[in-house]
């Protein structure tokens, strides 16, 4: 059986190529795959399309990748007041940004994971995000059409993984991570702890192993 466990962050991102699209989990400082992000910064992968709720916080989270000019395009809901490196790049016209409602970002990721190519929503009707999108009345409500959104990779953070990749999270650090795990071609997870197969109760597993390709146990946030 294929081994999913890698020695460390550098090994697990070693083949992520220039031009890759990558989803990054995390929200509000919780559940960010910071060790994977730093490994990606060391590797120097360029022309990344990033999908993430926000766009870094100073040099932290995605900040380091914007600072290094590794990201070419971002899909985000709330780049964030402390995303200074992103804002610098954005102001300089170096970055293409697709801004969207947070719940629609979630739903587009889930649609990708669930094999739903597109869906109608009332969210965004009459606003800037509706520009260029098909509008139509569904069941008496004005709706716009949104499409599935996935990526080559998901970089996510979980609390514990078993050796085949079943995952559990801690509290609000769950956020986008299970969605992105399911929406990627290749899902890479950093965890606090790897446990034996069978150590996680099947009732409480949040991300089943089917959605996880690579696991690294790394210390610290």
């Amino acid at each position: 059986m294929k081994n999913k466990i890698y020695a460390g962050g550098d090994e697990v991102v070693a083949d992520v190529p220039d031009g890759a699209s990558i989803m990054f989990g995390g929200f509000g400082g919780a559940g960010f795959p910071n060790n994977l992000i730093r490994a990606l910064a060391r590797r120097g992968t360029r022309n990344i399309t990033a999908i993430s709720n926000n766009c870094g916080s100073g040099d932290n989270e995605l900040g380091i990748l914007f600072k290094n000019k590794q990201i070419r395009k971002a899909h985000a809901s709330f780049p964030g007041p402390t995303a200074n490196h992103f804002q610098d790049c954005y102001g300089a016209g170096e970055i293409e940004l697709e801004l969207m409602a947070q719940g629609i970002l979630c739903e587009r990721l889930r649609a990708q994971a669930a094999g739903i190519p597109a869906f109608y929503t009332t969210v965004g009707v009459g606003t800037e995000v509706a520009k260029g999108k098909e509008e139509r009345v569904v069941r008496g409500k004005r709706c716009i059409l949104e499409s599935a959104l996935g990526a080559d990779y998901a970089f996510i953070k979980a609390w514990k993984a078993d050796r085949i990749g079943n995952l559990i999270y801690r509290k609000a650090a769950r956020n986008f991570n299970p969605l992105m795990a399911a929406a990627a071609e290749t899902t890479i997870v950093e965890v606090d702890e790897i446990v034996e197969v069978g150590a996680l109760d099947p009732e409480v597993i949040i991300t089943p192993s089917i959605f996880v390709d690579r696991i690294v146990q790394v210390p610290g946030r």
Binding site: A30, L109, T122
Partner: protein
């Protein structure tokens, strides 16, 4: 009789009176976020956070923070008995799917039709950011806006038509400001309460669209002396 507009804390105090016992409620950035301090005694509110919490409690005490347990503003919080964690799509299933009893958002402008603009100031630099507000505004069963009645330059924020980029259309049900409580009804803006010491005519003067005013508009009830 005082002629002071309400403080932000007092707006939050008044707005908290709108929360139903046992209700599931999302509070947005700004004044709404202050409301959790003013839940009337005896009421239990299950506060929802779009990052995957139902049943948020007070902020964590210094030294007791768990940085995996934060609210949508990145602040370490606690949970109350009966809380649940879930992922962000499930959190927005709750917002967009019409499961929140009440949501309270801040705003730059609210129109007389209930349109809300709260995510972008025209002409400012940077990308702006939407966050969860669009899903929350569209989906909440009852959407309340808490804001100052007028901008710093005195411009009315309750307007005929929003000029700022919209968050969502025709969704606000009530507006609570430092001057008034206003219901948005099919007939128009109904002045439900005025701030202590203010008259309906004074509130009208600070408001762009015409207010519907009944014979007796009561004053808001607030704790003596406020906060």
């Amino acid at each position: 009789m005082s002629k002071q507009r309400l403080t932000r804390e007092q707006i939050a105090e008044r707005a908290a009176q709108e929360l139903p016992d046992g209700g599931c409620v999302n509070l947005g950035f700004g004044i709404p976020n202050l409301m959790s301090n003013y839940v009337p005694a005896g009421k239990t509110i299950y506060f929802h956070s779009e990052n995957g919490i139902l049943g948020m409690g007070p902020r964590a005490k210094p030294g007791e923070e768990d940085f995996d347990l934060v609210d949508a503003m990145k602040v370490p919080v606690t949970v109350i008995p009966g809380a649940a964690f879930f992922n962000q799509a499930e959190a927005h299933m709750m917002t967009r799917g019409g499961h929140l009893d009440v949501a309270v958002l801040g705003a730059f402008q609210v129109s007389e039709k209930g349109d809300i603009a709260n995510w972008k100031v025209p002409g400012t630099k940077g990308s702006g950011g939407i966050g969860g507000a669009m899903d929350i505004a569209v989906g909440a069963r009852r959407l309340i806006v808490c804001m100052e009645h007028n901008a710093r330059d005195g411009a009315p924020k309750v307007v005929r038509q929003c000029t700022y980029p919209l968050t969502a259309i025709e969704c606000v049900k009530a507006i609570i400001t430092d001057l008034a409580v206003i219901d948005i009804t099919a007939e128009g803006l109904l002045l439900r309460e005025v701030a202590p010491g203010f008259t309906p005519a004074e509130v009208q003067r600070f408001t762009e669209p015409r207010l519907i005013v009944s014979e007796n508009v009561p004053e808001m009830r607030l704790a003596a002396g406020g906060m």
